[in-house]
């Protein structure tokens, strides 16, 4: 790696380094694409591909922050609940103040605060991340349900809605957001000291501590980023759906974790990439897209989803096992 590379070159370098690690997952996504191309005329069209990218963007934004948390051998179960509360607070601030900017800022702010709280519990109180963020999930759900009391807030200014449903040069705005945060995330993880320290914490916490990594501060950082990304994802949700209600977050937690893990990040920490998470989000989105395009009977959809997820990771684990056997 040469230090003479120009700035954009360094970003691209980070991205390709990221992509190399996930060749097999990418291949699995490609296989799904090839099958769908033959199965449905509607699949391989510009419109549908942009459609898939736009649908994947929300999940990716949420899962990208979570990737950093899982890289430290942590977990954030509160991301779904976080989207719910951030969206509802952003929605009501926007309604009350009439300012889209203030609403957006409060959405990301709320998400970030939840992240900081998670970080403090995990880093300073030394709580197991599963329990700390599981508790936070209920606290945040509880606040959201109490605040919303079964009501729905809807109807936002069109300038704000462009964030979710707008286009620039024929490409949906959330897709730009996805690629911006993909590049930033890959660069942060691969090319900054912070990123390297995060990998080090996940790989071996004790040796990271001995080599001088400020563990508590880095842990607080990753949970805060995860919370802020949930806040950002909530804005994309609001802008797309034009409405917020108390239960919107529930459907996100497991798919977000699944996107990270399907993308090759290890639950034990130290291994994984942000690009992998993009591929994970794409695989999950492609499955739904394909089932809808083929109008597969509703009764079969859960089964098919499960089988494809397992197959998508199968090839990778198989080759890894062989490599280990050869050692």
């Amino acid at each position: 790696m040469s230090f003479a590379l120009s700035k954009p070159g360094r970003f691209i370098g980070a991205l390709t380094a990221d992509l190399k690690t996930i060749a097999y997952r990418l291949a699995a996504a490609m296989v799904i694409c090839v099958i769908l191309t033959f199965a449905s005329d509607a699949f391989l069209t510009t419109n549908n591909l942009l459609n898939v990218l736009r649908q994947a963007s929300l999940l990716f934004l949420l899962a990208s922050g979570l990737t950093l948390v899982i890289l430290t051998a942590g977990l954030d179960l509160s991301v779904g609940a976080n989207i719910g509360l951030s969206a509802c607070i952003a929605a009501s601030v926007m309604k009350l103040s009439g300012s889209a900017l203030l609403g957006a800022a409060s959405g990301v702010g709320v998400g970030m605060c939840i992240g900081v709280a998670n970080g403090l519990l995990v880093a300073l109180m030394r709580m197991p991340p599963f329990i700390a963020t599981y508790g936070m999930l209920w606290v945040v759900h509880g606040i959201t349900f109490w605040y919303m009391a079964g009501t729905t807030i809807y109807g936002f200014p069109s300038a704000f809605r462009a964030l979710g449903s707008g286009y620039f040069l024929g490409v949906p705005i959330p897709v730009y957001l996805m690629f911006v945060f993909l590049t930033l995330g890959a660069f942060f993880a691969q090319r900054t000291t912070y990123g390297q320290e995060i990998y080090a914490i996940g790989a071996n916490r004790e040796s990271a501590r001995l080599s001088g990594v400020p563990i508590a501060r880095r842990l607080i950082l990753v949970y805060t980023v995860s919370g802020a990304m949930a806040g950002l994802a909530s804005l994309v949700f609001l802008a797309r759906m034009n409405s917020a209600e108390g239960d919107i977050g529930e459907a996100f937690t497991l798919p977000a974790i699944a996107a990270v893990l399907i993308g090759g990040t290890s639950l034990f920490g130290g291994v994984g990439t942000v690009s992998g998470t993009l591929v994970g989000a794409l695989i999950l989105t492609l499955v739904l897209n394909g089932m809808n395009l083929l109008t597969l009977d509703a009764s079969w959809q859960p089964l098919v989803t499960g089988v494809i997820v397992i197959l998508a990771v199968f090839l990778d684990t198989l080759t890894r096992k062989r490599a280990e056997a050869r050692k």
Binding site: G142, G150, T152, Y154, N242, E245, N292, T295, A298
Partner: protein
């Protein structure tokens, strides 16, 4: 020691008597607007009849173990009567047996339980609601064109009956083609994404029948963003749907009479305590809210008051 406790308990219960009857109201979750209006209906009825309402709602939506432990609580606290929506019609039967064993009168509302002794059942008929709502759409389409059905949660009772109603209406209109029937799981975002996907395959979708209003609004967002025109109907008669009907974005919404169900369920429970005659069963007939009749529904549920008992059972 025991004696003191007993006396205190008796004093407490007499104090409760003076305040009017205590009614425990069980609903399925805090998230679905339907149960919110049912709770408001129950409160309005209790207020009119001088009773008080205590709500029992699982913190995890539709949680069977949570509702079960709430029943155990109630069997100890002994309210005068219970208005009960089971989170699951079959799984809650043992819970209802506990209420029956405790001799607390209980009225079954909205989702019919598969067993147990009830004073009455108060509900709405999902099949005819689905049928009437779909008929309204197909008539507006002139009995021809392409439609899509957006289903709720595949295994849920409400969804099965509503979709059966949709299908019956389609049978009556052979000129209408059913392009696809896909699950949106009663979720707004999923309905939006499913609709985006379906629009890739089908260049012309004239109508969408959604099994609830949240999915209907998701479908409308998807079609608007893609500059596609089509008529959309949903079910529940939520405030959001009524605003969309008013704005001409949504064709109609089947009225689930949630507020009225909460009212009547609570009224029946209190009348039973007063030894007044009560109906064994009231199933609210299907009615469809559309541009021509939305005005009476266009009121925040907080400001609504229960209709008279006689008018409710007449329906």
């Amino acid at each position: 020691m025991n004696k003191i406790f007993l006396t205190a308990a008796i004093m407490l219960s007499t104090a409760a008597q003076a305040d009017g009857e205590k009614i425990a109201v069980f609903t399925k979750n805090l998230t679905n607007p339907l149960f919110q209006v049912e709770r408001l209906g129950a409160e309005s009825a209790a207020k009119q009849m001088g009773a008080t309402v205590q709500h029992y709602v699982p913190t995890k939506p539709d949680s069977i173990p949570e509702q079960m432990s709430q029943i155990e609580d109630v069997a100890v606290k002994r309210p005068n009567a219970i208005v009960f929506i089971p989170v699951d019609p079959k799984a809650m039967v043992p819970g209802i047996a506990k209420i029956n064993a405790a001799n607390i009168p209980v009225v079954n509302v909205t989702d019919r339980a598969a067993g147990g002794k009830f004073v009455s059942f108060i509900g709405a008929d999902d099949y005819s609601l689905g049928l009437e709502t779909a008929r309204f759409l197909l008539k507006a389409m002139g009995g021809k064109g392409n439609v899509v059905i957006m289903e709720g949660v595949k295994a849920s009772l409400t969804n099965i009956d509503r979709v059966r109603g949709f299908k019956k209406a389609l049978e009556e209109n052979p000129g209408v083609k059913l392009l696809a029937q896909q699950p949106g799981n009663y979720q707004r975002l999923q309905a939006l994404q499913v609709m985006e996907n379906l629009m890739q395959t089908f260049p012309q979708i004239d109508g969408v029948i959604a099994a609830n209003d949240a999915m209907a609004t998701g479908v409308i967002e998807a079609m608007e963003a893609a500059n596609r025109k089509g008529l959309v109907v949903g079910i529940n008669g939520t405030k959001e749907a009524i605003d969309a009907i008013k704005a001409g974005k949504m064709l109609a919404s089947g009225d689930y009479a949630g507020f009225e169900q909460g009212c009547l369920g609570t009224m029946v429970a209190i009348r039973e305590l007063h030894k007044l005659p009560v109906p064994k069963e009231v199933v609210f007939p299907a009615s469809v809210i559309h541009k021509g009749n939305y005005q009476p529904y266009d009121v925040a549920a907080e400001q609504r008051a229960c209709p008279k008992y006689e008018d409710l059972i007449k329906k």
